[in-house]
Symmetry: C2
Subunit: 213 residues, 2 copies
């Protein structure tokens, strides 16, 4: 199946600005993108990236290649994804910031039954979906998951929810980095573990930067 991965190449992961510098946010988000693209390919999907801007050259000290075609579409996410659905179904759309992604989790999305298979994000967003229904359209915003269910019902599309913690965890803020350190298996987790470690903060797990050598 064609699997589109939208990527904010211009201003990635702004809600991590209390933890990561701007170059770090670029590097970390690119590592997550590569993890998602690689997991999609390993799951038997055909990944392509739709980026808001051309991808910057990778860090020469730590080059990370994106092994998928990249096109630039600077429209808002909703318009961009709807254009991809209009280009033909079946199609899946998987967000680029799923730092816990694995091929097995993507395989469950790609093999899920229904005209729409959908993965809610924590907080009510839509982290991933696949659809074979040409009339399905997205509208990304807070709580878009419920609206996407309504949209599916309104066009008579059958729906299945993919119950995956790995796909439901989008990495937006500091607390999400704990999950990547705990359970991430890809390049993003390796990148993060080089720089951060788990630490108990106020009785709960948090992250702290490793001491400089």
């Amino acid at each position: 199946m064609r699997v589109v991965v939208p990527f904010d190449a211009a201003t990635p992961k702004t809600r991590l600005d209390d933890v990561l510098s701007v170059p770090e946010r670029h590097a970390f988000s690119r590592a997550m993108l590569v993890d998602v693209v690689d997991a999609v390919a390993a799951a038997g999907g055909e990944p392509s990236v739709v980026a808001t801007a051309p991808l910057s050259d990778p860090d020469p000290a730590d080059p990370v290649d994106v092994d998928a075609p990249v096109t630039v579409d600077d429209r808002p996410l909703t318009a961009c994804v709807n254009a991809q659905i209009e280009a033909g179904v079946p199609v899946a759309v998987v967000m680029a910031d799923l730092g816990l992604v694995t091929p097995a989790a993507v395989r469950r999305l790609l093999s899920a039954p229904g005209d729409l298979a959908i993965v809610p994000g924590r907080g009510g967003g839509t982290n991933a979906f696949s659809t074979s229904h040409p009339a399905f359209r997205v509208d990304y915003h807070d709580g878009s998951y419920l609206d996407h269910l309504r949209r599916a019902r309104s066009i008579g599309a059958s729906v299945s929810e993919v119950d995956s913690a790995r796909l439901s965890t989008d990495v937006d803020e500091r607390a999400d980095l704990v999950e990547v350190l705990l359970r991430g298996e890809g390049r993003a987790a390796a990148w993060l573990r080089d720089r951060f470690e788990l630490a108990v903060e106020g009785g709960r797990l948090g992250v702290r930067r490793r001491d400089a050598d």
Copy 2:
């Protein structure tokens, strides 16, 4: 399979004290307990509850029966669960505060391969596991998930992770209530929806109490 559900009957859900009154915390936690017990039974497990204190009588206005044997064990959770493993394997242990639980999610836990099947909680806890290995023992604390993996390795037990957002979401604090309102399917969700609704707060979904009539 025997499935033990530990339940804090004495001081449930203290971290929800900024949202729910003490009687409400008792009622809500009991509704989650019933959802877990019912999902275990529907998934083909044999549920039993181990409570820190006798269950209080249900609210006569909204009686919720716990359809499983209840025993009282006032030891700390770790000692209590290890005693259950020592009583015989295979056994599964599922926390009582999984407000998104469904029979399908529990079925995945009960049918997972490996000497230990484990569901990490968000934040690194251990929300559920099943084991057939008599030497496995638990030690509940922050980040217990990683220690449980180490313990399994040390005794040569094979491990599978159950990748379920529904089982990974334990309901501890205000933000978790958003997930219950969004996706809960049981009594706890119904209880909560009677009293609270979703609301956009600072650009994200939160919960607010419904206006009194």
